[in-house]
């Protein structure tokens, strides 16, 4: 009860309408005002202080020196932590190449359940290696995992024990998740805990936020189709996947031995495809009573036949439903087809293996062997049409290198709609392309297969092949058409970088410039820059293609007006664009003053931006004004000085007038120079005119004087 009260208190405290990123922003802002903390950074995040403690926001202390490996979630490491009330907590520090589900965390706060650990807080922390990671902190109610490995697990629980300790609590959690419209996505026996009791009284569900859904699921815990995709390429899980995984765990708890022990992943998948998941997972173990119905219902491979959470609830209430035993493998040919030195009777099994030898596939396609097999041995018109379609499209794409591989990919999907796209060493479902690509990028793996899958329109092909109309995947067509367009556009904000953020908007910014920061929003970006400016390790160029694409996807309004500036050839436009964008982020986010960043901008970006003005005197006065405000931390003021429309117009007009003046002066110079060159006559004409005037004046005076004297005084002759 005390746990419930604590959970309720935490829920009320945290789920009061704050969004995760904004909460982190506010808390970062508050962190700056906090005093007396060792190693405080400009962004507010605390560096590890004395005793190697790392703080998450104000309330949580994490101890990097105290790992808790039994609570690791796959590649995500767990560490001891405590909150302000000195309660024992667990901090799960996410890996940067696995995108955490930050937005789902806000929904998770709404779960109040003894079998779901309370999420106390989450946010960005500055780890002991100087790099930022994302972290989720739970109240420590886990205990020990039910199993430390999946292979060979069979705990032999009784039905009563399973009902009380697992089924009822888990169904409650799944119902809560259904009500909150969220999915766990990582239900497996190694991610379930005993709650610290032995025997287990009530199973506690493990973390579901630190990595993408299905990323940690081994093939046993996934449906055969999803299991064929790479863990990070499985895409979003649905509640149907959670129910399946719930069934797998139940089977593992109740069975005495693992019928799949020692088999490879490929063999496990094939076993499920041929015999069905129920038979594959339970083997020779026989279950009786109502739990048999439950297991059959939740382990249905056909999603339309699988029980929903409502069906499970009805079953718990005592209503009995009789599930059908079916497997995905409906078709079995009368005769086999030979491929890659193996004989195949089932198209779905063939589809699974086509990518292993594309050249061999081309042979049996080109010589008609495949078509004949489908037509004569399967007699499935719809299948025949799909295969024909796939072959035609492949041939239309040309005979470029990789043509055979693309055909193998298409044919696999045609043979079994919904199959992952298997190409080269990659196997992804379209929805899983985003996290898979990001993981590959961050681990310096080859991205060419993903690019080729997009450019070849294989996601659209996959959608068109989907025969199950109950699943809406039509949005994928426009999504991947957009990605294809992005790849063709080489400008900033597009390209492969845009594809990453478009397919996986939750991801942090993958730019190399931010390799030590975990930036999940434009506001975080600013704080990261502030931090870097404070430590004097700002990159030379503020933005790269990643940052631009990241901003465009996260908040296009901030950047779309400045994209032209960022793509321009003129450097002053680039830097002005950067300043405008950063100022806009600060203004819209109502962020605090960023003194280090503003000083850095004035020292490094403004001198380039100022060059847009022709008038050097004006530039000098601007530079003086910028120097005066450089430590104010107000990026908007800097922008207003550098991007003032009136000043720009005035400067341009002034330049035009100066241009005209220069031309007029040059003309005057040439004329004068020419006249001076003929020096002999220069000024002579004017001189003569003046001489004529002088002479005329003298003559007029003298003549008048003489006439006056002569006619008035009766003067004598001359």
């Amino acid at each position: 009860m005390s746990d419930t009260a604590t959970q309720g208190e935490n829920k009320q405290g945290e789920a009061s309408g704050q969004q995760g990123d904004e909460a982190a922003t506010d808390q970062q802002a508050q962190g700056v005002e906090a005093t007396g903390e060792a190693g405080q950074e400009a962004s507010g995040k605390q560096k590890p202080g004395k005793g190697g403690k790392v703080r998450l926001n104000k309330d949580i202390e994490i101890f990097p020196g105290t790992p808790m490996p039994h609570l690791d979630h796959g590649p995500v490491k767990a560490y001891a932590a405590k909150n302000r009330k000195d309660q024992a907590c667990v901090a799960l520090v996410c890996r940067r190449d696995y995108v955490p589900q930050i937005q789902k965390a806000e929904k998770y706060y709404g779960i109040v359940n003894q079998s779901a650990p309370s999420l106390l807080d989450h946010g960005v922390i500055s780890w002991v290696d100087g790099v930022e990671y994302y972290c989720f902190v739970y109240l420590e109610i886990f205990g020990q995992p039910l199993a430390t490995y999946v292979d060979g697990v069979g705990l032999g629980w009784s039905q009563e024990h399973a009902m009380k300790a697992f089924i009822e609590p888990m169904v409650n959690v799944l119902l809560d998740m259904r009500d909150l419209d969220m999915v766990h996505g990582n239900i497996r026996i190694t991610n379930m805990y005993d709650g610290g009791t032995d025997p287990v009284e009530r199973v506690v569900m493990g973390d579901c936020l630190t990595m993408p859904t299905s990323a940690g699921q081994p093939v046993q815990c996934e449906t055969p189709i999803r299991a064929m995709a790479d863990p990070l390429g499985r895409g979003l899980a649905t509640q149907a996947n959670d129910i399946y995984a719930f069934g797998v765990v139940l089977a593992q708890l109740m069975r005495k031995r693992d019928p799949l022990a020692g088999l490879s992943e490929d063999e496990i998948i094939e076993e499920k495809l041929i015999n069905g998941s129920y038979a594959a997972l339970t083997g020779k173990d026989r279950f009786s009573g109502s739990v048999l119905e439950l297991l059959r219902g939740v382990l249905q491979d056909d999603i339309n036949q699988r029980w929903t959470i409502d069906d499970i609830e009805f079953w718990l209430e005592g209503q009995r439903l009789t599930p059908k035993q079916s497997s995905l493998v409906k078709d079995k040919a009368a005769r086999p087809v030979e491929f890659n030195e193996r004989k195949y009777l089932r198209p779905v099994i063939l589809a699974k293996d086509l990518h292993k030898n594309p050249e061999e596939l081309s042979r049996i396609v080109d010589n008609g062997e495949l078509k004949q097999w489908i037509h004569r041995s399967l007699e499935d018109k719809a299948l025949e049409e799909r295969v024909e379609n796939a072959v035609t499209i492949s041939r239309e794409q040309g005979n470029s290198s990789g043509h055979a591989s693309f055909m193998a990919t298409r044919l696999a999907v045609a043979l079994s709609p919904g199959f992952p796209l298997m190409y080269n060493n990659v196997s992804v479902l379209p929805e899983g392309m985003g996290p898979a690509m990001i993981h590959a990028y961050l681990n310096n793996q080859d991205l060419t297969p993903y690019i080729n899958l997009i450019n070849q329109g294989l996601a659209s092909f996959w959608v068109n092949m989907m025969s199950d109309s109950s699943i809406d995947v039509s949005y994928l067509i426009s999504r991947f058409d957009s990605c294809k367009g992005f790849l063709m556009n080489k400008n900033n904000a597009y390209g492969l970088e845009r594809v990453f953020y478009y397919l996986m908007p939750e991801t942090h910014c993958l730019s190399d410039k931010l390799e030590n920061h975990f930036v999940t929003s434009p506001e975080h970006l600013l704080y990261a820059y502030e931090d870097m400016a404070a430590n004097k390790n700002m990159p030379e160029r503020f933005f790269d293609r990643h940052i631009i694409a990241f901003l465009h996807v996260n908040d296009s309004k901030i950047i779309e007006n400045s994209i032209a500036d960022l793509n321009a050839e003129e450097r002053f436009r680039n830097y002005t664009g950067v300043i405008k964008i950063l100022a806009e982020i600060q203004k819209r986010g109502k962020l605090r003053k960023l003194k280090n960043l503003s000083a850095h901008l004035v020292d490094h970006a403004a001198p380039e931006a100022i060059k847009r003005f022709h008038d050097r005197d004006f530039r000098d006065s601007l530079a003086r004004e910028l120097e005066r405000i450089k430590n104010d931390g107000d990026l908007v003021k800097i922008r207003d000085l550098l991007d003032n429309a009136q000043d720009i117009q005035r400067d341009y007009n002034g330049f035009r007038n100066a241009y005209k003046s220069y031309a007029a002066l040059r003309k005057e110079y040439r004329q004068l120079e020419h006249r001076l060159r003929t020096r002999g006559n220069f000024g002579k004409g004017t001189g003569r005119e003046i001489a004529a005037v002088v002479s005329g004046a003298i003559a007029a005076v003298l003549v008048l004087a003489m006439a006056f004297v002569r006619f008035s005084g009766g003067g004598t002759g001359f």
Binding site: E570, H614, Y659, R675, G683, K684, A691, A692, I698, L702
Partner: protein
């Protein structure tokens, strides 16, 4: 042939007013013959100046003519008042060598005024022109310092008015 054509180009065709004036002047010259004789002889330097002056404005002729007339004027007044505007009086005046000297000396003075003024004014104007050239250079330098080398018009400018080949802005004065 060319000279003839040139002469023809300079000739002004007289209208009826001009012709009337010409006739009137001829009649006046005949009626006032003594004045005509005396003025013809006395203003001979002016006629010569008019012939040798190739400028359109004929400013030298005017200069010499004004001073020449000044020299002739007193004798003409004598002819009108003392000699009763007679032919004898005219002949007497023009045959007196001293009179001719004075008349022609006045014309020489006109030549001197013309030579002196044109020389002085040409010198002053040349000096002013050279000063103006220096000022123009200064102004141009100042324009370039303030607005950049793009203002000279010697460079191809981009949309914003900056030289197209400007990798980095030049900070030249």
């Amino acid at each position: 042939m060319a000279t003839g054509k040139k002469k023809n180009r300079n000739k002004v065709k007289l209208g009826w007013r001009g012709q009337l004036l010409m006739i009137t002047m001829i009649i006046a010259a005949v009626v006032f013959l003594p004045s005509t004789v005396m003025l013809t002889v006395g203003l001979l330097p002016t006629v010569v100046a008019g012939i040798i002056d190739r400028t359109r404005e004929k400013t030298r002729s005017i200069t010499v003519g004004c001073m020449n007339f000044t020299g002739v004027c007193p004798y003409w007044l004598d002819l009108l008042t003392l000699y009763g505007h007679s032919m004898d009086g005219a002949v007497q005046i023009i045959t007196e060598p001293m009179n001719i000297v004075i008349m022609y000396s006045a014309a020489v003075l006109g030549y001197l005024i013309d030579w002196a003024m044109s020389g002085m004014v040409a010198t002053v104007m040349s000096q002013r022109a050279e000063r103006r050239l220096k000022n123009i250079e200064k102004e141009q330098k100042e324009l370039v310092r303030r607005w950049g080398r793009g203002v000279t018009g010697d460079y191809r400018l981009d949309h914003y008015g900056f030289p197209v080949d400007d990798d980095q802005d030049d900070e030249d004065a």
